[in-house]
């Protein structure tokens, strides 16, 4: 089987993630208070940051689409939404498992957990809209608006631990609360996760591009922007 550039990029991203896993399990020290379960922290937080990045792509794609009616920007937005939802799922599930060990329950309705669940619902809704709406200008405009207004929840998630009293811990990385080995492992895992997410967004963008091209071939009238003038004959 011949590997294309996407296969090679994916292989590189997987290799980085394996290195990150090695650092998490063999380099980072065991937390004296929580024990081994604290190692969930590294991918849990990195996934949340990767999701923020993916949702930023949705925001930028939506803004550029509304300004320029660029269908490439709309495709980046669709790609970012799907990758963002996947990483938010990882964040939520890993966090719940960690919570069960240290809090004794999978879920509490505090501001951080609730706003993250709302974030997941917003972008899952975005994907549903894009999946079932008739492809074209109207769906892209609605998607752009959902993507832009939905992004308001990203700073709410991030700052929820400082704006409200939460059971979820605060910003331990920004407060220098991590020993150097843990901090190095976290930063490396975050870098690898961001690269992995970026590769996924690029692959999903290419998928959306090919799907749009196929749509044009099958149903040319349905994807032509409404404002496009008739060709001069």
């Amino acid at each position: 089987m011949r590997l294309n550039k996407y296969d090679r990029a994916a292989a590189g991203a997987v290799a980085l993630m394996l290195l990150a896993l090695a650092a998490i399990f063999f380099y980072a020290p065991t937390d004296w208070l929580q024990g081994p379960v604290q190692r969930i922290f590294y991918l849990h937080v990195s996934s949340a940051i990767a999701a923020y990045g993916a949702f930023t792509v949705v925001l930028l794609g939506g803004v550029v689409f509304l300004r320029n009616e660029s269908y490439a920007a709309d495709r980046w937005a669709r790609a970012g939404a799907m990758v963002g939802v996947i990483f938010t799922t990882v964040t939520l599930v890993m966090g719940s498992l960690w919570a069960k060990q240290v809090w004794g329950q999978f879920w509490v309705w505090d501001a951080r957990l609730t706003s993250t669940l709302v974030l997941w619902i917003i972008y899952a809704g975005y994907m549903l809209v894009r999946r079932f709406a008739e492809p074209g200008r109207q769906a892209a405009r609605i998607g752009a608006l959902v993507g832009i207004f939905g992004f308001v929840d990203v700073p709410v998630v991030h700052f929820s631990v400082t704006w409200w009293v939460t059971q979820h811990p605060g910003t331990i990385v920004e407060n220098d609360a991590l020993p150097p080995e843990m901090l190095a492992t976290f930063l490396f895992t975050m870098l690898c996760t961001i690269v992995f997410a970026a590769v996924l967004v690029v692959i999903r963008y290419q998928i959306e591009t090919l799907r749009d091209a196929k749509q044009v071939l099958v149903q040319p009238a349905k994807v032509v922007p409404a404002h496009q003038p008739e060709p001069v004959r």
């Binding site: 997987v14 024990g35 969930i40 996947i86 599930v93 498992l97 692959i203 999903r204 998928i207 196929k214």
Partner: protein, 32 residues
């Protein structure tokens, strides 16, 4: 320890599965 193993197993399956599914979808679309 059990929750740690389940958490990373879930993340590996979801992220790895999503990557493989995306690459397969891309190959399928590329062929057509």
């Amino acid at each position: 320890m059990t929750y740690l193993v389940i958490a990373y197993a879930f993340a590996l399956v979801l992220l790895g599965g999503f990557l493989i599914w995306s690459l397969r979808t891309l190959r399928g679309l590329d062929r057509r």
